[in-house]
Each structure stands twice: as structure tokens, then as C-alpha cells.
Amino acid sequence: MNLLTRLNQVTAKTLFHTESLGSYFEPLIQRVKPAWRTHWFRAQVLSLKPLRDDVLQLELAPQKTWPQAKAGQHVLLTLEINGRLMTRPFSISSAPDQRQTLQPKKRVIRLTIKHTADGAFTSALSQHISVGGFVNLSAPQGEFLLSDSVLNLPETPLWLVAAGSGITPFMAMLHQLALSTHRLKPLFANAIQSPAHKPSNPIYVVYFAKAGEHLYVDELTVLAQLLPQLKVKLLVRKNGDNLATALQGCLASSQVLICGPGQFKQDVDHQLDAINHPPQHRQAEYFQAPILPKTDNGEQHIQLTQRGKQTQLTLATNDTLLNGLEQQGISATFGCRIGVCHQCQCVKKSGVVRNLRTGELSQQGEQLIQLCISQAVTPLELEL
């Protein structure tokens, strides 16, 4: 595979001045296969349904080579909107390995997309795709998954805490749990895949939204019938519901998954801290730029290599590398700016950075980092 890739690159570079044969032939292939793109998977739009005025549900059939997603993962969805390729991350809200009813050989994934007022992508979405048309997908990505303890220890209670469209990855997880429960009944002996047992963990869904704006209420009712241990609480803050009461009964051993806006994630964390729930039993996925911790107003030296050219820079350590570089007039490729899409990924040759999403410090050596969520801790050598 590596040898073939290398051969492809060398041939393309020498004969056609492109990085791969695919990129040379791409415009030709697109004549026959619309939206065929190197580096991207193709998916056909099966249905397009508004769940609410501001929420769109998209069913897609990805091409066969698309890797299977795990429940809780997201994909990057790329559309050509008025000539521009635009990419955004969306959680998958269907169970892995879901099949199309009419053509069972085709896989289906469901994306639930909330329209945001300032979102150029979401507002153009419904006008630029149509049933039967094609979009591009990345491989599924993300580590927001049901942990092994949930899958293997039937006594671990599972708390799924969502706000607004944060319910989407949980729909995938609940469908997966329901499917495995029912699949396991007749075929228990063949249950080689995880979960290794019939999932019977108590499951609590704590779902905050504005009054009348809860998504998938009917589906959650059906899931509650399939999974008798599932308890769903649909909550509205304005009606007096609060996290303190919602999270009552959450044990220290409970696995808590949180999905919602950044502020919501912080509120849930505070409440869980208050009831002594250990942070290592929590996972969170939130959709907002990371909040920068206030550090001393220090500076760090950066040695930047850009297309063979070296530059020395001094960047403030209390901002992201991406912002810092841009303020110095250096344009780095970027995408989502919240650490999801990896378009701003670059090579850190040496030095330590802090990952603002996880708070973790990197190793000293060479590795790939994302500029939009990294902060300089020591002097750095970067290659753009």
C-alpha cells in the first residue's frame, strides 16, 4: 500500500505536476461520478427531512469503502455550496451498521443538523443538496464512545446528559444498545462482538431543551420500550427544571457522558463535582471554542518553517497558535477553529504545547498538532 501510494505520487508529480493521479483525473472522474473527490468518501442523499423549522435530518448512503462508525462518533460533511467546498463536523445519530430497508446491502447513516442563524453552512444546506445527489464524508472520527466499563459491566449506570442538539450522539448509542439487546436474544452464543453481555445497565437520559424543542421524542419512547432499563427525562430550564435535581441519584461509579454547548458542559461538571462524581468517569463533547485559561502574559519564541522558508516569531502564550500566527500576518490553513476538523494540523518538530480541549501537555518530540487548540508552553519549532 505504501509502495503503491509512493508510486502514485511520484508518477503524478513527474508526469502531471499533481500530488496524486487522483487529483489529476478528478475533474474527469467527476463528469461520470458527481462529487467524486480524492481524500473524501462519497455518500448519496437518501432523504432530507426537516424535524423542526431549524433542524434538518439527513439520511445518507456512504460508499462501500467507508469505514464503519462507532456509536458517538462524528463525520465531517463536505458540500459544494455555490462553488465553495465547505466542511463541518456532525454527530451521527443512527446506530452503526444500520441498513437500508429496500436495499439491505447499502448502509445508512443519519445526521441531525441544527441550523444556526449565523451559519453559512447550515443555512445553505437545504438549498444545495437534493435527494439522489451526492455529498462528501470523512471517515468517522472522535473518541466520544461508550466506554468498556459500560459495555462489559452490567452494573455500571450510564448517564447521558444532553442539551439541545447534543442529543444526536446519544441517539446513536441508544440505538446501538437497543439493537444489541435484541440481536443477542436469539443469537446469544454468537455474541462475540462487544458488548459481551446483554446490556442491562440502568440508563438515564437527561435531556434539556427549550419547551417544545426536544428532538426525537417519539423515538426515545420507542427506545424506552425496547430497553426497559432506560429512563428518559425531558427537561426545560424555564419550567424550573435544574441540573441538581436532574442528576440526583448519579453514583460515583456512574459513567456520565455530556454533550451540549460549552457552557452546559461546565454547568454539568460543577454539579457533578458538587456530588463528588469523579471526573475520570466523565466524557464530554461540546461545540464551542475552547475557553482559554488565563496564563501569565508571557511570550514564547517560535521557529516556523513554511515552504522551506524559516521565520522567527514571538507569540503570546495566552492565545492559540492559530490566532497568534494570524496576528503576525501568517496565514495558516484552518477550518473549524474548534479542534475538530484537523485542517490546521501541522508538524511540531520540537517543544511542548498545551492542548486546550484536554488541558494535556504534549511530548517534547515531533508530532502533529492542531494549531487552533494548541498553546505554546515552551519554545517551539513548527512546520506549516
Partner: protein, 351 residues
């Protein structure tokens, strides 16, 4: 600089025109450039295949040469030049953008981009700053003192046209600095000399390797048909690009500027200099595409990163703005513009 022109108003009007035009840029323009690429691929492969049919009837070979030459012209002009200017970067396409793109000529795309987009487009026709005025080879105005070598500069010009891709490659590297160690004051190179040399040889070598070794060898016994076809296709492309580019900058009306004139230049004055430093060529739609829309050299110099698919549309509006401000808009049919270029080269051969 002409003091009777309201430069601020001129700048506002041209800025407005650019803004209005960019607002409409979208799916049509993306489809346009992809379509040109599809044609380029078709002509290239059609051409390479037809070259080999020369042994059946030489006419096939002739058609093949023309087809391959057209592909190379499209790649160089409408696709390469414009994509490297960043005109299609807004598409966010991983392959059709100024960071990724390289073209089918001896000059490394990155080196060209660095020098051409910066030096030539910022300092158009400023003597001493824009090395593209005469390429350091030709004396094209009285701004340069006469030297003996100018006597035979028409022959130099013919050589330059024939070897244009190598001329560009050498020139954009600022090779006289890299190879001969000549230094010019106040001009710091962002890329070191060894890197520039490496790029010069690596890209040039690849070009020779593919057109004069790989493709001919792939043709086996039809080696000679292919190698000669490639040679002539490259030659035709060189002559075409050189001719078009000379018509864009060296017709009789084109002005030059001194460095002093351009100090503390406002946006309006910059536009004015671009207008007088360039000239257009009249022609049909196909002609414009084959020139990479450099037949709209004035519009290209005013708005270098406006997608080429829009130059035909903005041209009448640019002309109207110039007319209102009393600025000359230099344009004419190809033969008239080209004869002016020839006259200019000959005129300044003599003191």
C-alpha cells in the same frame, strides 16, 4: 503622475466594481475552471495519442501536435497562471488552489508565484523594481541607457520567445543572483539560493524527463514521432505565451514609472499605474480563453485575484470608469498590438 485625476474617486469606483463582481462569484466560476481543466486533460491525452498515429498518416501527427500544444497553452495560461494567482482559492478545493498547484512548464510554480505575484504585480512597470520590464534582456524605453548588445536585441527577443519557459524559470529564480552571485541593494530573498537552485533543476529536469524521455519511450518504435511532437508542442506554447505577454506590457502606449513617482502611492494612484502599464487585445471568446484572459491584461492588473471567468464581464465597466476619469484604455486587435511590440523592440535597439 497626472494631477488632474481624482484618485480617491477612481479607487472607490474600482473597489466597488471589484466588490460587486466578487459578490456574484460562485458555482458558475467553479464549474468554468473545472470545465477548462477537463478540456485540458482531453486535449492532452488526445494529442499524445494522435502523435503516435503519425506513422499511418503525418496529418494525424499534425493534429496531435496542435492538440497537445493547446493543452499546454490552457495549462499554462487559463489554468496555471490564474490558479497560481489565487483566483480560485475561494473554492477551497484541495487541488485547484495556489498552494497546491504546479504547471506543465519548466518554471517551478512556487518560485513564480513568489516573484511574479509580488514583484511584477506590486511594482508594475516601475523601473528598477519590476524586473519584468524587458526581463533584464531587452531595452524597451529610454529609462535604460543604450548598450551595444541592444543592437541585436530583436534576435535576443526571438531566442527568448523560443525558449520562453526556460527564460521564465531562470528569470523568476532571479538566477543571475543565484548563479552569478549578483546582489542588488535592498532586495532580500525570502528563500535561500540553494533552495532556489534545487527547485530550478528539479522542476526543469522533470520537464525534460517526461517530454523527451518517458513519453517517447512509452511509444516504443514510435519514439521519434512522439519526441518531435512534444518538442514542437512546447515550442508552440512558448511562442504563444511570449507573444501574448509581450502584447500585454510592451505596446507603444504603455508607460513606465520612476521609483520616486511611486513613493507613498495611494490605492487610486496604484490603479492608475496598473492601467497605464498594461494593454489589452481584442478578440473572440476562444481567443480570450487561450490567452488565459491576459488579453484583458488591464483588468488582470487592476484585479489580479479576480477569477479570470469574470474579466470579460468587468471590462466594459472598467473602460467606462477610465473614460469618466480621462484615463487611456489601451486596446486593439492582435496584429496592431503585436506590430507595436515589434516596433518597440526595434526602436530601442538603437540609442
Amino acid at each position: 503622475m497626472n494631477k488632474n485625476i481624482n484618485f480617491d474617486l477612481l479607487a472607490n469606483e474600482l473597489d466597488d466594481l471589484k466588490r460587486q463582481t466578487l459578490k456574484d462569484v460562485g458555482a458558475i466560476d467553479a464549474a468554468y475552471i473545472r470545465n477548462v481543466i477537463v478540456w485540458q486533460r482531453g486535449l492532452e491525452w488526445g494529442g499524445r495519442a494522435l502523435l503516435m498515429l503519425g506513422f499511418i498518416h503525418p496529418l494525424w501527427w499534425v493534429v496531435g501536435v496542435l492538440s497537445l500544444a493547446s493543452a499546454k497553452i490552457l495549462d499554462n495560461m487559463e489554468i496555471g497562471h490564474n490558479v497560481l494567482h489565487g483566483q480560485y482559492d475561494w473554492m477551497n478545493d484541495p487541488h485547484i488552489n495556489s498552494r497546491q498547484f504546479d504547471w506543465d512548464i519548466a518554471c517551478d510554480g512556487k518560485s513564480w508565484q513568489r516573484i511574479h505575484n509580488y514583484e511584477h504585480h506590486t511594482y508594475t512597470n516601475v523601473i528598477g523594481k519590476d524586473r519584468d520590464f524587458g526581463y533584464g534582456l531587452l531595452r524597451l524605453s529610454n529609462d535604460f541607457s543604450w548598450r551595444l548588445k541592444n543592437l541585436w536585441q530583436f534576435i535576443t527577443y526571438i531566442y527568448l520567445s523560443v525558449l520562453f519557459q526556460w527564460g521564465i524559470s531562470y528569470h523568476e529564480l532571479a538566477a543571475e543572483r543565484v548563479f552569478m552571485g549578483k546582489k542588488k541593494q535592498g532586495r532580500a530573498s525570502k528563500v535561500n539560493a540553494s533552495e532556489l537552485k534545487r527547485r530550478f533543476f528539479s522542476k526543469g529536469g522533470k520537464q525534460l524527463f517526461k517530454d523527451y524521455l518517458v513519453f517517447p519511450l512509452l511509444a516504443g518504435p514510435l519514439f521519434l514521432w512522439v519526441i518531435s511532437g512534444n518538442l514542437i508542442a512546447n515550442l508552440l506554447r512558448n511562442l504563444w505565451t511570449s507573444t501574448i505577454i509581450f502584447c500585454g506590457h510592451f505596446t507603444s502606449d504603455v508607460h513606465t514609472f520612476s521609483q520616486a513617482e511611486c513613493e507613498n502611492e495611494t490605492q487610486g494612484q496604484w490603479y492608475y499605474r496598473q492601467a497605464l502599464g498594461s494593454s489589452n487585445i481584442l478578440g473572440g471568446k476562444l481567443f480570450h480563453i487561450l490567452t488565459g484572459h491576459l488579453s484583458f491584461q488591464i483588468e488582470h492588473h487592476l484585479f489580479p485575484d479576480l477569477p479570470s471567468s469574470r474579466y470579460q464581464q468587468v471590462a466594459p465597466q472598467v473602460q467606462a470608469i477610465f473614460a469618466r476619469h480621462g484615463i487611456a484604455y489601451h486596446t486593439g486587435p492582435f496584429l496592431r498590438q503585436y506590430s507595436q511590440v515589434v516596433k518597440r523592440i526595434l526602436r530601442y535597439s538603437l540609442p
